[in-house]
Structures are given as structure tokens and as C-alpha cells.
């Protein structure tokens, strides 16, 4: 009996195929008390912050529910950052620890859903760490740009 070779899978249209890619879209969820203050300070210190960053200020990183992160990807975000207070600094005691726990599992889940794990980043930025904010956002945007090209 003759049998066929594997059917070729329908290739999904990728954005790179002869289409000029639009600007990168990076969603950054910043906690009000530390990371947003750090971002603010980066601004007042005139440190470079990538223009591709869409900042969403939330009261606590513990408020970022995992469905919001997946929805950001679904709606076309190239990358999603969640920036929190350092452990022990949370305005609500443990919100950032809960955010860490979710991020830890999401970090494993995201590649299982077919998304490059580099597209999701959880990190800590305190109110004083303007330099760190500038550095990691630029790093992240550069990485997203390199993944896309």
C-alpha cells in the first residue's frame, strides 16, 4: 500500500513576509509606588527611555492578572514587561511576591503557548532606580527588535 508523505502544514502568514513591520509595541505594567516613580525619575534625569514603550500604571504589580498579559500578546504586543517593587518594599506587603509567583509560572507557560519566552519579562525597579529602568527597557526593546528582524 502506498502512503503519502506528511501533509505540509499551512504556514501562517508572518509579519516579516514582504511587509514593512510597523513600530514595535511594548506594553509595560509599572507599579505605582516603585517602578512608575523610577520611570518618572528616569524622565526627569533625562535618561533615554524607548518611545516604543506603552506604560500602564497600576497600583500594584500584584494586580496584573495573567489573562491581561496574554491579552496584550493577543492584541499584538511584541513584548510585555511587568515591573515591580523589590521584595520587602511592596506598599501592600506582598503584592510583588504574588506577582513574582505568577510570573514564574507564566514564564514557563508562555513558550508552551508558542510565544518566545524572551517576550515576557518580570523585573524589579525601585523608585530610586531610574538608571536601571532606562537600561532594562532599552535592553528589552532592543531584544524585541532583534527577534522580529
Amino acid at each position: 500500500m502506498s502512503c503519502q508523505t506528511l501533509p505540509t502544514e499551512q504556514t501562517a502568514e508572518t509579519s516579516s513576509a514582504n511587509v514593512t513591520p510597523g513600530p514595535l509595541r511594548i506594553v509595560a505594567f509599572l507599579c505605582n509606588w516603585c517602578s512608575y516613580a523610577g520611570a518618572d525619575k528616569a524622565g526627569s534625569n533625562q535618561l533615554p527611555v524607548p518611545s516604543e514603550l506603552s506604560v500602564i500604571r497600576v497600583m500594584c504589580s500584584g494586580r496584573i492578572e495573567p489573562p491581561l498579559i496574554l491579552e496584550a500578546f493577543q492584541k499584538g504586543a511584541d513584548g510585555v514587561m511587568v515591573l515591580a517593587c523589590h521584595p520587602g518594599d511592596c506598599h501592600y506587603k506582598e503584592g510583588n511576591i504574588r506577582a513574582f509567583c505568577r510570573a514564574e509560572l507564566l514564564q514557563n507557560l508562555v513558550p508552551q503557548l508558542g510565544i518566545d519566552p524572551k517576550r515576557f519579562r518580570f523585573d524589579y525597579v525601585s523608585a530610586a532606580e531610574a538608571e536601571k529602568f532606562s537600561r532594562i527597557t532599552n535592553e528589552f526593546v532592543d531584544k524585541m527588535r532583534s527577534i522580529r528582524l
Binding site: M1, S2, C3, Q4, T5, L6, P7, E9, Q10, A12, E13, T14, E65, P66, P67, I69, L70, E71, F73, Q74, H86, P87, G88, C90, K93, E94, N96, I97, R98, F100, C101, R102, E104, L105, L106, N108, L109, P111, Q112, L113, G114, I115, D116, P117, I147
Partner: protein, 333 residues
């Protein structure tokens, strides 16, 4: 023999047959089904053929219970046909409702699925690596097989569905309750409703005691014996009952088996797996971060969460076709 009774049909697409078993499990109440309905199509139990369905006028079947996800073009064709011929079209069981176990194949590409099923599983002996194709030449002519769809779909993604009846399988008590309700002529729930289940979590029906403690770490079922009568989540077991719709009378947790989420997500508006993830992680004790070394604290938490060895299999066991990123082109395997 023609009959004036409303017609009842049941069909299986990509499914295991458990839904039919659950229907058979209503035992003598099947006589009640027969008293109220002309049970006229069910490939598992009856000999009616597809051509008999095609011969019916549109909307002639009163109630169709469609189980199974849509894996092949044949599944899709039957779903479209039965939708057209039915007045009430019910997505019956987890696979039809949210993709179920077959939708876990969406985690891999089609080539990978075929390679596993026909070449690499230990029980297969296929040295020539023959894999079924859509057409095949034999001495008598050409044979055809229906092609795979690009990904496994839940029923509502392909055709309009009137009601969804979740469960893997839907409980027999719920099936007979639904059949009695429809037969009684009582007003039907609004279109799009979930039937044969409750709007509360499995925990609401679970007899295990909640002691309002947090789990020190998440554990897999083989790692410990659950303490009888105490909430499985609080003991650290990966029980997703708190984010899962009830209606099963908490059968699994009652029998010491953590809920795997077959009745579907309570929150229909959000990604099912991500919701379950958030709910379960909230059961883990975050500890106190004050005065503790950051590295040690995070390492401890990582270890506490290491019980979730397979987040996708844990949180999307029955709902992978429903993830909000289902249509996103895969970048990594």
C-alpha cells in the same frame, strides 16, 4: 415508522465515546428519553446514516447533542450539517465546549502529532514511516481521508451553538435533568447559556473542609497522600476546582483526586488557563519578604512553585482551543 415525537440526535466528532457512555449511564431513564423523543441519530448506538440526516428538512431535529472537538474536515462537515438540521444545537462535553483533550494537540504542529502517533510512540512498529495522507492509491483506485484542520477547534468556533453543556463527560444526572427540562416544555434558558452545570465553583459542592491556610508549596499527586477531609488546594495539590464551574458534585475531590477543570472556566470572559493559574498561585503562601535575603526568598518561592511541572497541561487541560493566543503564529515549539 414515522413518529410525531421531537427528534433527538447525538453525534461524536473528535471524542472518546465517554459522552455516549455517560448518556447510557442514565440507565432506565433512557426509557423516559424514548417516551419524549424520537432518538433517531447516534453513530455509537444507532444505525442511521449521514444520508438519512441529509434527507431531513432543515431544522427538523429538535435537539442535537454534539460531542467532540473539530479535528478533521469531516468533523467540520458533520457539525455544519447537524447545525443546519437542528433547532437546538448543544455543544455537549468539554471537547465540543472548549476543545477538551484533543485540543492539547494544538500545543504541537500537525507534523509533530502525526510523527508521534504513527512513528515514535513505543507501541508503534512502522519502520517505513508510513503516515496516512488525504489520498492513497490502492489497486482498486484512489482512497480519500478527510484532512486535518490547521488546529483543533471547539464547536462554537465553527458553527453557532445554542447551548453549552460542559463536563468530561457531562454527569448523567445533569443529562437527564436537561432532557426532562426540554421535554417538559418549560421555558428554555437564554441562547448561549451554559446548561447542566452551576454558576458556582466546584468548591461550592466540595465536601472537603477549608481551614483558611495557605499552602507552603504546590505538589503533584504522586508526591503525597492527601489528608482526608481537608481542602486539596490548602494541602498544595494542583486542584483547579476554585476556578472551575460546578455541577459535577465535586466527584473527583471527594475521591481524593484534585479537580482537573473539566466543567470549564467560571469566568467566560478571560483566558481560561491564565485565570486558573492566577487562582491556584494565590493559594501559595508568599511568606514574609521583610528582612529576608532577596535571592534566598525567590529561590524558595521558585521551589514552592516547582510542583507545576507542566503549566499548559495543568491549566488548559480541557480548554486549549479557547486560549486568547490560539491564533497567534507559533514562534517556539
Amino acid at each position: 415508522m414515522t413518529t410525531q415525537k421531537p427528534k433527538l440526535a447525538m453525534y461524536w466528532a473528535a471524542s472518546c465515546g465517554g459522552c455516549e457512555v455517560s448518556l447510557a449511564n442514565i440507565h432506565e431513564a433512557i426509557l423516559e428519553v424514548d417516551a419524549h423523543f424520537d432518538f433517531m441519530f447516534c453513530p455509537c448506538l444507532l444505525d442511521t446514516k449521514k444520508k438519512d440526516i441529509e434527507a431531513l428538512p432543515d431544522g427538523d431535529i429538535f435537539l442535537t447533542l454534539f460531542n467532540g472537538a473539530l479535528r478533521t474536515e469531516e468533523n467540520l462537515e458533520m457539525a455544519t450539517l447537524l447545525r443546519r438540521k437542528s433547532r437546538l444545537f448543544v455543544a455537549f462535553g468539554s471537547c465540543a465546549a472548549t476543545g477538551g483533550i484533543p485540543a492539547l494537540a494544538n500545543h504541537h504542529g500537525i507534523a509533530d502529532v502525526l510523527e508521534t502517533a504513527f512513528c515514535s510512540v513505543p507501541s508503534i512498529d512502522n519502520p517505513e514511516r508510513l503516515i496516512p495522507g488525504t489520498t492513497c492509491q490502492v489497486p482498486d483506485g484512489e482512497l480519500e481521508l478527510p484532512a486535518f484542520l490547521t488546529r483543533v477547534l471547539a464547536l462554537h468556533e465553527a458553527v453557532p451553538v445554542d447551548y453549552t453543556m460542559p463536563g468530561c463527560p457531562p454527569e448523567s444526572e445533569q443529562i437527564i435533568a436537561v432532557v426532562r427540562h426540554v421535554a417538559s416544555g418549560a421555558p428554555l434558558p437564554p441562547s448561549g447559556a451554559q446548561i447542566g452545570c452551576t454558576d458556582r465553583a466546584v468548591c461550592d459542592e466540595c465536601p472537603r473542609e477549608k481551614r483558611t491556610t495557605l499552602a507552603s508549596r504546590l505538589i503533584r499527586p504522586f508526591e503525597a497522600l492527601p489528608e482526608p477531609g481537608w481542602c486539596l488546594v490548602e494541602q498544595g495539590f494542583l486542584c483547579v476546582g476554585s476556578s472551575t464551574r460546578g455541577g459535577c458534585v465535586a466527584l473527583c475531590p471527594t475521591a481524593n483526586m484534585p479537580c482537573t477543570g473539566c466543567y470549564g472556566s467560571l469566568d467566560q470572559s478571560a483566558d481560561p488557563g491564565a485565570t486558573a493559574l492566577a487562582t491556584l498561585v494565590a493559594a501559595v503562601d508568599p511568606g514574609s519578604a521583610v528582612g529576608v535575603d532577596e535571592t534566598a526568598l525567590l529561590a524558595g518561592l521558585k521551589d514552592a512553585l516547582s510542583g507545576v511541572a507542566d503549566p499548559l497541561g495543568t491549566f488548559y487541560r480541557y480548554s486549549l482551543s479557547e486560549t486568547v493566543v490560539a491564533d497567534r503564529a507559533k514562534e517556539v515549539e
